[in-house]
Symmetry: C2
């Protein structure tokens, strides 16, 4: 395998039997902590899952995607104002972080930290998959990991040594997401241009056909990320935020 370059990165969902040594993992987690954070407060925490029991308990919260139980390590990264608030309480200070802005500050810290960790881990030859399902059923994760108030799971990484080398995914052209000075709303002609490659890919054309849809966009709106699901999951997300003390 050649030197890692970011242009060739791909998500890895199949892992070899080799363990991720705790020393390596801890070194990567420590180094990633040099990512900038709000007021240098490091408003995040990482729960490491290695036990088969805990992986099995987490799996349903991630719609039983097989990586959760197959990966040697699962990391759940949490927005965390708990530790900072406890520090304040131990130091005659009155913390005021039980609000939505503070949740967003901590979630930002946690996600930036997560991505540096991903960059470093992939550079070290590890393979990983980011599970976007983390915020779909957060209460289930909160219960399994015993996350206290003022913490909230925002990212999950399944991590191991790669046992596959899938193709690199397509990406939209730069001009589709780059705006000079002000936002320029895409015209229908722009949309045709931006999405032409994605829509022409054989794998996507087959996906449309198998699902009896007319367009690729319908795969997303009608099957993968539907209004009905998004609205139901928005309600459970809000309820979990409230339970954790951020609303």
């Amino acid at each position: 395998m050649g030197k890692f370059t970011f242009e060739n990165r791909r998500s890895i969902r199949q892992y070899s039997g080799r363990d991720v040594e705790p020393e390596l993992l801890n070194q990567l987690l420590s180094t990633a902590a040099h990512t900038q954070t709000m007021g240098n407060l490091q408003l995040y925490s990482v729960v490491v899952t290695r036990s088969a029991e805990q992986k099995a308990a987490l799996a349903p919260a991630h719609f039983n995607q097989p990586m959760v139980q197959q990966a040697p390590v699962v990391l759940t990264i949490c927005a965390d104002f708990r530790r900072t608030s406890t520090w304040a309480q131990c130091r005659k200070a009155d913390p005021g972080y039980d609000n939505i802005l503070s949740f967003c500050n901590a979630a930002t810290d946690a996600l930036l930290y997560t991505q540096t960790f991903c960059n470093l881990a992939e550079e070290a030859g590890l393979g990983l998959c980011f599970l976007g399902t983390t915020i779909y059923q957060p209460q289930a994760i909160i219960d399994v990991l015993k996350l206290p108030k003022l913490t909230f799971p925002v990212a999950t990484i399944t991590l191991g040594w790669p046992a596959e080398e899938p193709p690199v995914s397509d990406r939209l052209p730069l001009q589709s997401f780059l705006h000079e000075e002000t936002y320029h709303d895409p015209t229908p002609a722009d949309i045709d241009c931006f999405y032409a490659e994605k829509e022409s890919l054989e794998v996507n054309r087959e996906f449309v056909c198998i699902n009896n849809k007319e367009t690729l966009a319908q795969i997303f709106t009608d099957i993968r990320y539907t209004r009905k699901d998004n609205e139901a999951l928005s309600r459970t997300f809000i309820a979990a935020l409230r339970n954790q003390g951020f609303l």
Copy 2:
């Protein structure tokens, strides 16, 4: 200057007169797009500010931090379900992304993308500062950059070639944010251990003294991130989310 290593990274707030060449910037922005995103939809956009007029217009939204007008380039990274929704509408698909879960999905994509960009830019020798102020007065940024519905600014980066080499900031020890299998709430003794180094730093002790406070934590709770500010900014944040169609 030696090879960049992440352990030595520091935020850069002073930039040389040298411009950031558009070719280099575009290459970094393109490469960063290999970061994983939800369903490979790339739910983000980047507004590049180079004009002095637009920098001056953005500055108040960032509490007039001088980097905004001094950096050759300011990047505002937005959660963006606009382009994807327009694509859907052009393809006989009904997008259902005007809800809080979709905002969180897009914000996640945008923040992960932002951090990969930061890591690549710093590796290329650029210096940058992440402005956490972006979500404090989002409506002002929305107005200046003419951000349409279903977009929302979540990160701002001031970018240029470094004209300073500040010391590397302290970080909390790994055990302060690492939890094995389940979350372990810190005891007062843990807190003493986790925060000992930070509290003992000369710069922090002076800061406490100058501000007539008793503890470092009070600097954060009473001056930098107060309950009153957090609650007021939470209200304006929610109002901006509503204006942009995510609530």
